[in-house]
């Protein structure tokens, strides 16, 4: 018969044994496990991915003709190094680009050698099919001038062609033969030239990759990579803490980094700068935001340094639409004094009175429940209350927030986006009248109606589009920045770095400075 004493004794003994049991989890010696914050993978064809997290697998399997050094953005044309292309030339008018391809580059799974036909197909399908066709309308013709040479002709000159087009995800080189053979399956079983190839696409768990043994360059050091999906923040954090995964997407909310650091000081935090741009849009169709004095008052009432401090160490200051480390971005000291909009509550109150709101006013604003959005909006709400502007903040779920923004239902919305160091691309997203947001949801991301409800920068952008040298391009771009700064339909808020937390057992082989929110694992090694 089991007595109570025996039962308690057994329970204690079992628990004690458990304390000394070898840990069940043991990090695999041949696998790097990465967990992103999305619910599950969608697609891995670079021309079809629509979810940022999927790019972690894409970047391991596919390559560009040229690319900047790992862990950086290519800000200037000379920042790019040969990759699948050995060399390239451009015409004086920056409209014709010829790429000489590397020979002997093998596709995954025996799909043969990469040739100019594969490259031409990769560019043309980005222009004609896929999810970002409008980014490639400048391509008029892409053809194989020989087995290892591709000639690309453009409608308009583009001195930033390498960063605006060649080193972008949709034109990553795919096997033409595999694409034709696999059909729809290519979306989840794609064939590229990268250091890893796909073994398994699991719509519930993630993507499982293995080393491409026929890789043309230095082979990947770690044989296997698992790109997993753990949407829940607690589950993802615990998975990292327990050693179940090696790297996770971090949480961009105040206090998260110090809290994790305190619990496990040896973890490594990789951050890109700028990461996400945060842009504050003044909706000029909403009363009384047409009033420039009011917009200036709001800018002087916002203490950007407080936002940076709250989101430290992920946040960096930005003064114009493009951040300072982008080609047309301004440092504070380079801006004319009247366009700096430094924090000055007294000036803000004065401007508010000049605008006819000496007694203050209330502005209804929607924000997203996502931490990065709500944090900034809440800080701004508190700051503006100090100068007499009451922000009536309504928190919506993330999808609803963006949908209502697109239906012209917001007033001071923030848009957070990871944008490349291609100023014309950034401007074209937010500033021209052609990107005007419309109430039927069919418009673009110009949430201010800039260029529609007030004269905008369309002419300047047209001129920028015709520049043929990098220096002219930048000079014109800086004119656009200043014009936007003066008209103030929108303004740059501090940027927010993309954050990945890494176990010290993994050395990724290069420092993370800037770049898109994903990086290659082929140089990574297991060091502990």
């Amino acid at each position: 018969m089991i007595t109570r004493r025996a039962l308690i004794g057994t329970a204690i003994a079992t628990s004690a044994m458990g304390l000394y049991m070898p840990r069940l989890r043991a990090a695999a010696a041949d696998t790097l496990r990465f967990a992103s914050s999305a619910g599950g993978p969608r697609k891995t064809d670079p021309n079809q991915t629509t979810q940022g997290s999927d790019n972690w697998a894409v970047i391991q399997m596919f390559e560009y003709l040229v690319m900047p050094p790992d862990g950086t953005f290519g800000v200037k044309p000379e920042d790019f190094q040969p990759w699948l292309a050995e060399s390239w030339t451009t015409s004086d008018d920056s409209k014709t680009w010829v790429f000489k391809l590397r020979q002997g580059v093998q596709f995954h799974k025996g799909y043969g050698e990469m040739t100019a036909d594969d490259v031409a197909r990769s560019f043309l399908r980005a222009r004609d099919e896929g999810v970002s066709t409008s980014n490639y309308t400048n391509l008029t013709d892409v053809s194989a001038s020989s087995k290892y040479e591709v000639t690309i002709k453009l409608k308009n000159p583009d001195p930033m062609f390498l960063s605006s087009t060649v080193a972008t995800r949709n034109v990553m080189v795919v096997s033409k033969k595999a694409e034709a053979e696999l059909g729809e399956k290519f979306a989840t079983e794609p064939i590229g030239t990268g250091p890893y190839q796909i073994d398994r696409f699991d719509s519930e768990r993630g993507m499982f990759l293995s080393r491409h043994e026929g890789y043309w360059g230095e082979p990947a050091i770690i044989p296997k990579v698992e790109c997993l999906y753990i949407a829940d923040t607690t589950a993802r954090t615990l998975a990292l803490m327990s050693g179940d995964v090696d790297m996770i997407e971090g949480v961009r909310q105040p206090g998260w980094v110090p809290q994790i650091q305190a619990q496990k000081p040896d973890l490594i935090f990789d951050m890109t700068a700028p990461g996400s741009f945060n842009t504050l849009f003044f909706n000029l169709s909403k009363e009384p935001l047409q009033n420039i004095q009011l917009r200036k008052a709001i800018m002087h009432g916002i203490n950007k340094q407080e936002i940076v401090d709250a989101l430290t160490p992920m946040s960096n200051m930005s003064y114009t639409l493009n951040p300072p480390n982008y080609p047309t971005g301004f440092k504070l000291e380079d801006l004319p004094e009247d366009l700096r909009y430094e924090y000055n509550p007294d000036e803000a109150k004065k401007l508010l009175a000049d605008a006819g709101f000496a007694g203050g006013l209330t502005i209804p604003v929607n924000t997203s429940q996502r931490e990065d959005y709500s944090t900034q909006h809440l800080i701004i709400q508190e700051q503006l209350s100090q100068i007499g502007i009451k922000i009536d903040l309504k928190i919506l779920d993330h999808s609803a927030y963006h949908a209502t923004n697109r239906q012209n239902l917001n007033t001071l919305n923030i848009n957070s986006s990871s944008l490349p160091p291609v100023p014309l691309y950034v401007f074209n997203q937010y500033a021209p009248s052609s990107a005007n947001m419309t109430e039927d949801g069919k418009g673009g991301a110009n949430y201010s109606h800039y260029g529609v409800l007030m004269p905008g920068v369309d002419d300047l952008l047209d001129q920028m589009l015709q520049t043929t040298t990098f220096d002219d391009y930048v000079a014109k771009g800086r004119e656009v920045e200043l014009k936007i700064q003066r008209d103030l339909p929108m303004a740059g808020l501090p940027t927010l770095s993309y954050l990945v937390v890494r176990s010290p057992r993994i050395d990724i082989g290069f420092p993370i400075k800037s770049g898109y929110a994903y990086w290659r694992f082929c140089k990574a090694k297991i060091v502990a």
Binding site: R25, G39, Q51, T133, S203, E204, D232, T234, A239, S399
Partner: protein, 312 residues
């Protein structure tokens, strides 16, 4: 009995129809645009339009509804708007995990809750009874996701006894992976079932037939389990039914925290992404589950209580 079952099954039709209609309407009323979710906030108008066109989101609502109902009758829910995976595949990949979790947590909840309730009832107003009361109070009050995180931190992170997430492969590994999530749900369930068992048992323990059994010299365990508990089972079976249904709502948080595949996790992700076809299919699965559990409970009543059988 067969006639009764037939009419109960017939009852399902308008219920499922109503659920489907409500989900369809709710999804279209909710602000949120699948095209924007799929393509990102910077997508231009042309890209968004092309996506809507491809996915049939530009069709008139009435036509979308009729198409949806027509397909639902054939159990054809189409493809996910986000991943393009057939929804049948998504359901087939996820539903078994929710069923396993439900079964495991209900079994564990019964094993923990009923004996605890019986013991508390037989020790009325003594320490075990007070302990059950406190346990139940905590069980009612504590959110499932919080309890899940606590158990994960203690048993997986610190002690390393259980895997931190996933569903495992193979029977034993699967059992190992399911234990902690099932325990989380079972602890909440057992708080409710323990309390219910205690109350039901106390009610019958004062009845004449229990007194008679004791007077005849039956052993106390026989009196409790043979005579009293069997008669307390009817209200308890209602509680078990409610508890199974509660597992469904509980599984949403548990599947997320333990990162297990399942209909709950599938549904939450789909709602965030406004993936209408997946939401509609997921909700229909839940609706079927609720209806079937209710039907099963009705059948249990019929078997357990001859008086209901007579009336029906």
């Amino acid at each position: 009995m067969a006639r009764y079952l037939f009419f109960r099954l017939l009852d399902m039709v308008p219920t499922v129809f109503l659920v489907l209609t409500m989900v369809f309407i709710a999804m279209r009323i909710l602000p949120g645009d699948p095209a924007l979710v799929a393509l990102g906030p910077n997508a231009d108008g042309g890209q968004l339009e092309a996506f809507r066109e491809k996915m049939g989101l530009n069709e008139p609502l009435g036509l979308q509804y009729v198409t949806f109902l027509g397909n639902a009758v054939r159990f054809d829910f189409g493809h996910s708007l986000m991943s393009d995976v057939p929804i049948g595949t998504l359901i087939a990949n996820n539903l078994p995990h929710t069923i396993y979790l439900t079964i495991a947590s209900v079994v564990l909840g019964l094993v923990m809750g009923i004996p605890f309730g019986v013991y508390a009832a037989t020790q009325r107003n003594k320490l075990p009874d007070s302990a059950l009361r406190i346990y139940s109070l905590i069980g009612y009050a504590i959110p499932d996701f919080y309890l899940a995180a606590v158990l994960l931190i203690v048993f997986s992170l610190n002690l390393g006894w259980f895997p931190i997430n996933g569903e495992g492969s193979g029977f034993w590994d699967g059992l190992h992976h399911i234990f902690l999530p099932a325990l989380t749900l079972a602890m909440l369930k057992s708080a409710f079932l323990g309390r219910l068992t205690r109350t039901s048992l106390l009610e019958v323990l004062g009845r004449d037939y229990v007194r008679t059994a004791r007077a005849k010299g039956a052993r106390e365990s026989r009196v409790i389990y043979r005579h009293a508990l069997r008669n307390a089972m009817l209200p308890l079976s209602t509680g078990i039914g409610i508890s199974i249904l509660a597992t469904l709502s509980g599984s949403v948080a548990i599947e997320l925290v333990f990162n297990r595949p399942g209909i709950g996790r599938l549904l939450i992700n789909a709602i965030q992404e406004r993936d209408y076809p997946v939401i509609q299919a997921g909700v229909m699965m839940f609706a079927f589950f609720v209806i079937l559990v209710n039907l099963a409970m009705d059948i249990v009543y019929l078997i357990a209580d001859p008086r209901i059988r007579m009336k029906s």
